[in-house]
Symmetry: C2
Subunit: 383 residues, 2 copies
């Protein structure tokens, strides 16, 4: 938490030209780009007749979730961890799907409490022992817990690995009074970030075929399978057209990031989403030719992927590198010696999910004004 | 924030054997190792007649700072950002040195407020414009602001680059009624992590010589220089013996991390500090031979340096890799097929400062019991 910095920035909300005076570093959302991204994804879903279940691991924010709902075609949200779901539930968000199995003593009690608090809560299961734990825990619940069988579509992180195992597990779920079988999940994380549309399309066609076969086997076995959930921002354009997924677990599209900007998401090279998530940083030292020191380091940017991209405030061709945990170093292109102290530099978030997870607030900016400051309620809710 | 997970873990405080039941993932401090590290550094400082000004950018925690004070030889604390200092000040910590220049409209007002709240606050300066800004801001203060001239000892991140510039800036500071010149700072971040003691020693001897010459030039010019501050955990053993630094800005020693464990800090290969900071994670999926999925990913560990080291709970030779933002993959050594669901695996923090910055609480464990849970008040205070 950074209460004094927050207080300064809150005083700028609604002040004409206030954005230029923001205390930095700050995590900034470009509202025009953000809203265009939400509208674009909703229009795509509407056109294809598919629903959206946005993944809240990206934003962990009640306000962003509400905006996604308002944009349309959203049937609920995904969360990777119970803590994220609890944070959203406190803010009135419902229809939450926990995309990884919930295991262990400390988690089951929390899952029961969350189930009581929500109208609709889904979990995924991958093995019989977990099904029996859940069935025992929910035997006395006022209504059954919604359950999906999670299918391993290639990453081997979670999921049943064969059609037969999926059907067998589906039967076990369907036989438990405390549980209600609702379908299957298959999330192919590893293919979302393939650069070329055709490579991604080929990979996700195989995933769609695998899931369609399991869905058909469920039906043949008399098991319900109204939900086939998965996909992501990377493969949404292919998955939304194939008709297998009933809902798309798209995460990054409201924000975008350096990594996704390098992907051709539409197959024709057009950018369907715009970068909306930035870290704003200022020049704090400029005593050397060719580079400056800024006030944002590895405590401001996720360092697991590409470097942040300098989008504005420094000459084109400038590059950002970490300069210790708390500072950045911006290399200027040839011919540019320096930048004045206080220069505001806007960097596109390198990898949006873990970058957002470093910040307690999102400063929502439109043009040169600060429109609002949104809390990131689920920040750090990793358990 | 993760309130439900925190509530579960708080109920385990003081419960015999409670540590094994912790909700995971969790950031865990081994109190025995932590206290041994504090005692070791205090004993070293006492023996060498040098003081400590621990860098709070590592821990951002009021409780850790208090423990450092109690261990002895501590004259105050360092903070990299105003927000960290404000968080510590709210908890009653005093004698704070801001180790990077404070610039800009939003920061100066906060600096004045912090100065009013503390008995002693130090800033560093590197250029005349900043000195004049500070002098104007503190002209009406009830007592002067303590100022150190920051010297560039090689990283080029901050600092004056010549002896003459240092003396000239010192003169300017000394001439301002609102400011009080107290000495110099030179922090050689880039050499702290050199693996070999001799390489580190050679590099820091040059830094010591550079700072000694500036200190002597200050005295020859009639300028006060009671403080020469800098050093770090990596070079403390050399710097503490050379007699130039009056205080050591040691940061990582209470916790240690994978990176520092690879450094020979004493020159004779003995480990003067023990790993005290861990992320505890549990096996949540084990459906494949040779590896398991755990519940801690890149939202739990800093990813800017080495990988977390598996210290306990998995067979020797097991290695950790990120498996998405929220999960880990532990590769088991040959001959080990799997681990049961729920197995508690303890990983040594990879790079301590940015790892701590991901967490809101530190679970303090002694043996198999949970002794306390400490808030990390300065987490995310990057502005």
């Amino acid at each position: 938490m950074n209460p004094e910095s927050l207080a300064w920035n809150e005083r700028l909300v609604g002040v004409p030209g206030g954005a230029a005076r923001l205390d930095t570093p700050a995590l900034v959302l470009d509202l025009d780009a953000f809203e265009a991204n939400l509208a674009q994804m909703a229009a795509f879903a509407r056109a294809q007749g598919v629903k959206l279940r946005p993944h809240a691991k990206t934003h962990k924010s009640v306000t962003v979730a509400r905006r996604q709902l308002e944009a349309g075609e959203v049937v609920g949200f995904c969360c990777a961890k119970l803590g994220e779901a609890e944070a959203l539930a406190r803010g009135g968000i419902d229809g939450i799907l926990l995309t990884a199995p919930v295991r262990g003593e400390s988690k089951l009690g929390r899952l029961l409490a969350l189930h009581r608090a929500l109208r609709e809560l889904f979990v995924v299961v991958e093995d019989p022992e977990n099904v029996r734990e859940l069935a025992a825990a929910f035997a006395g619940a006022d209504r059954p817990l919604a359950v999906l069988v999670v299918v391993d579509v290639g990453s081997h992180r979670f999921g049943v690995t064969s059609l037969e195992a999926a059907v067998e597990l589906g039967r076990l779920v369907a036989a438990q009074p405390g549980l209600e079988l609702r379908g299957i999940q298959g999330y192919a994380g590893r293919i979302q970030h393939l650069r070329s549309y055709e490579e991604r399309a080929a990979a996700t066609r195989a995933v769609n075929a695998q899931l369609a076969a399991i869905r058909d086997a469920f039906r043949a076995a008399g098991l319900p399978c109204p939900i086939v959930t998965g996909s992501g921002t990377g493969t949404h354009d292919v998955d939304g057209r194939l008709g297998v997924f009933t809902e798309l677990q798209v995460g990054s599209y409201p924000f975008m990031d350096v990594d996704y900007l390098a992907c051709d998401l539409t197959g024709d090279g057009t950018a369907c989403f715009r970068p909306a998530l930035f870290v704003w940083t200022r020049v704090v030292s400029n005593r050397h030719r060719g580079f400056v020191t800024t006030d944002a380091g590895s405590k401001c940017f996720a360092m697991d992927g590409p470097a942040p991209l300098v989008a504005a405030g420094a000459p084109p061709g400038s590059t950002y590198a970490m300069f210790g945990d708390q500072f950045g170093r911006i290399e200027l292109p040839p011919g540019h010696d320096g930048l004045p102290i206080g220069t505001l530099v806007r960097c596109i978030a390198p990898h949006c999910d873990p970058t957002v997870n470093l910040w307690d607030h999102l400063v929502a900016v439109r043009g040169d004004g600060v429109e609002a400051i949104w809390p990131i309620e689920g920040r750090g809710a990793v358990a």
